[in-house]
Point group: C2
Chain length 356, copies 2
C-alpha cells in the first residue's frame, strides 16, 4: 500500500523563546550541530519509507513561506494551511481527506515536526513494522516511548502484552498527563509508555474513526474533500475548518476507539520540550557546559549558552540557560524553564509584541 | 591659604568590565541615577572648598579628551598627563610641582576620581577640618573610613586617640591589605580605620617629605617643575617621569613619615570596587533587584541588571550580576566578581583586544 506522511507543523511553541518567535516557531529552528532545522530532520528521517512527493505538511498561512523555503522538495499542493489552529484531530482529518482524494486509500504516518530522534535506522524499522500492523484490518497504531523517568509533562499509554501483533501490543487506555505520584506508579508497573504523538493508520481507518467519534468534524471534512481541486476549495476550507471544535486526536479518538496497538520506541526520542534539551542533544565540555557563540567562561558549570557574535562572559555560573538573540536576551535558571511562558505573558501585558 | 585639589584619574580599572574599557575606565562612567560620571561628581563635591580653576586632574594622554569633555570647566593647563603610570607618589609629586610653580605654596587636597560619597555636606566639613590641620606646621592628613566589616580589600590605618588636633588623631601606622583574621582583629580593636586614599597637606609639606623619603623622585620633580612654562616642558616631563620608579604614596611616604593625622570619615564613602556597589548605590525593588534597561523579571531576586535597549528576560535568578553592552555581555555570580579580571586575561590570551 502507498505510504504517505502528514507532518504537523502549525505549532507556535513558546518554550524556545527568545529564539523561537511567533513568526519563527521551534520546528523551523536548528538546535542540532548539523545546522538542519527540526522539520527538515523530520522529513529526512522518513525518506527511506515515504517518497518526498507523498509527504504532506499541515501548517498555517503564516508559516507557508517558511515551509517552502526549508523544504523546497515538498510539492506546493502538499502544504496544507489550516485557516485556524483547531488542535490535532481536524489537522489530521484535513491531511486524510487530501490523501483520500489523491490516493483513494494509503498508509498514513502522522508525525510532529519538532521532535528529535537519535537512531534514525531503528526509528525507520519501527515505523515500517507499524505500517504493517496498520495495513491489517482497521488498526490504529501509535509509537510509545520507553519511560525512563516519571515525567509529568507527557501523556501515558497503558498496554497489554497478552494481545499483540508481532511487537505491537494492544492498547488498554490513553491517560493524560499524570501527577508525580501517579507517574511513578506508571513507570514502576512497566505497563505504560509515553505518548509520543506519532500515529500510523490507513487513511480509510482514521476517517472511519472520525465518522464514529467526531461525526460533525467528519461531515465538514467530507465537504472540504469534495471541494479539493475546485475553485471553491479555499472558501469551503475556510468556512468548514473555522467551524470545527478544537479537538485532540488523543482525546477525541484514541481514548474511545478500538483496535489500537502500540510499538515501543527505543530510538532515542526527544520531544525537545525546553532549552534543557539542548544540554541533552549537544556535546558538552567536561564541566557539563554546552556552548555556542563567542563565549568566555570562568568557573562555570552545567550551563547552556546560545550566543551570536556578541561576546558573552560567564563567571561563576551554575545550572543556567543563557540565550542571546539580536533583540532579546534570556537568562534562566535550569529549574525555571517552565516560567519562560510568564515572560511572554508579561510582554503581552506590556504590549511589547515585537518580542513575541 | 589657597586651597587646591589634585584628582587622580589615570586608573584603568577592570572591575567594571564590560562597561569600563581601556578607553573608558570607571572614573568616566556614570553609575548613579543622576547620570553624572564619577569624576564629575568628585569635582562637584569639592566646589564649596576649592575654585574650579584651582582643581588639577592627573591622568594620562589617552584620557585627556575624556577629561576635557566631561569637565569643560577645568582649565586646559590643569589637566596633567603622566607619560606613563608610576603609581601615586610620582602622580602626586607632579601635581605638587605644578601647584608650587603657580601658587608658591597652597593647601593640596588629593582625591581618587572613582569613589562615591553619600553625604557631601559632611564630607566637605571633614575636608575643611583636614585643611586646617594640614595648614598647621608640616602635618600630613588623611581621611580614614569607619570600618563596618573586616574587609580584606582595603589598607588599614592605626591611630592613637591620645594625641590629637581637634578631631584629627595621630596616625601610628599604615598597614597593607590584611588577611581576614587580621582584619577582624583590626575592626574589633576600634583602633583602625580603612585607608581611603584621600590626603590633605600643604604643597611644601609633601614636597619636603618626598625629598626626605623619595629623593630620586624629588630630584626629577624639581627638574620637571623648572621646565614648566618653558618650551622644554613636555620633553623634560617625558624624560624624567618615565625614569621614576613606580611608587605608592602609602608605601613610599606615609609608612615612613612623621606628623600624620587622620580624620574619621562618616560621610557614606564607597570605593565602588565592583559591580556589587551598584546594588548598594541604587534603589532596589522589594526583592533586592537593582535594574536598568528593558528588563522582564520572573521569580528573580537580589540580582543586578544593567541593560541597554535590548530586552533582557531574567527567570528564576538569584544573586547574579548581568551587564549588557553593545558588543559584550557579562553574567557573573555575585560571589565571583573578583574573577572578572580572569575574563580579561582570557581575552588577552585570545587576542580579542577590542573587548578590553
Amino acid at each position: 500500500m502507498k505510504k504517505t506522511a502528514l507532518i504537523m507543523a502549525g505549532g507556535r511553541g513558546e518554550r524556545f523563546w527568545p529564539k523561537s518567535r511567533k513568526d519563527m516557531p521551534k520546528q523551523f529552528l536548528s538546535l542540532t550541530d548539523d545546522g538542519k532545522t527540526m522539520i527538515q530532520l523530520t522529513v529526512e528521517r522518513i525518506l527511506p519509507l515515504v517518497e518526498m512527493e507523498d509527504i504532506y505538511i499541515a501548517t498555517n498561512r503564516d508559516y507557508k513561506d517558511l515551509v517552502r523555503r526549508q523544504l523546497p522538495g515538498i510539492p506546493e499542493e502538499n502544504i496544507l494551511c489550516e485557516p485556524v489552529g483547531k488542535n490535532t484531530a481536524p489537522c489530521i482529518g484535513l491531511g486524510a481527506v487530501h490523501m483520500q482524494k489523491k490516493y483513494g486509500d494509503a498508509t498514513m504516518i502522522v508525525l510532529p515536526s519538532d521532535h528529535l530522534i537519535k537512531y534514525t535506522n531503528i526509528f525507520v524499522n519501527t515505523l515500517s513494522e507499524a505500517c504493517k500492523v496498520a495495513e491489517q484490518g482497521e488498526n490504529l497504531v501509535t509509537l510509545g516511548i520507553t519511560a525512563d523517568s516519571p515525567e509529568t509533562g507527557y501523556g501515558y499509554i497503558k498496554f497489554r502484552t497478552e494481545e499483540a501483533i508481532g511487537n505491537a501490543f494492544a492498547v488498554e487506555k490513553f491517560v493524560e498527563k499524570p501527577d508525580l505520584e501517579t507517574a511513578k506508579k506508571y513507570v514502576a508497573s512497566e505497563q505504560y509508555l509515553w505518548n509520543s504523538g506519532m500515529f500510523i493508520w490507513k487513511v480509510s481507518t482514521i476517517l472511519n474513526n472520525m465518522q464514529a467519534y467526531l461525526p460533525r468534524i467528519h461531515e465538514g471534512l467530507c465537504r472540504i474533500g469534495d471541494a479539493i481541486g475546485t475553485e471553491r476549495q479555499d472558501e469551503v476550507l475556510e468556512k468548514e475548518f473555522s467551524a470545527f471544535d478544537a479537538e485532540s486526536v488523543d482525546y477525541g479518538i484514541m481514548e474511545k476507539a478500538k483496535n489500537i496497538f502500540i510499538l515501543a520506541g527505543t530510538f532515542g526520542w526527544d520531544d525537545v520540550g525546553s532549552w534543557l534539551a539542548v544540554g541533552r542533544i549537544k556535546a558538552g565540555d567536561e564541566l557539563g557546559n554546552v556552548i555556542d557563540g563567542n563565549v568566555v567562561m570562568v568557573e562555570t558549570k552545567n550551563t547552556i549558552i546560545q550566543g551570536t557574535q556578541k561576546l558573552i562572559a560567564a563567571v561563576g555560573l551554575e545550572d543556567l540557560v543563557v540565550v542571546d538573540t539580536e533583540d532579546a536576551l534570556l537568562i534562566c535558571d535550569k529549574n525555571s524553564t517552565g516560567d519562560i511562558k510568564k515572560v511572554l505573558e508579561r510582554l503581552r501585558e506590556k504590549n511589547q509584541t515585537k518580542y513575541l
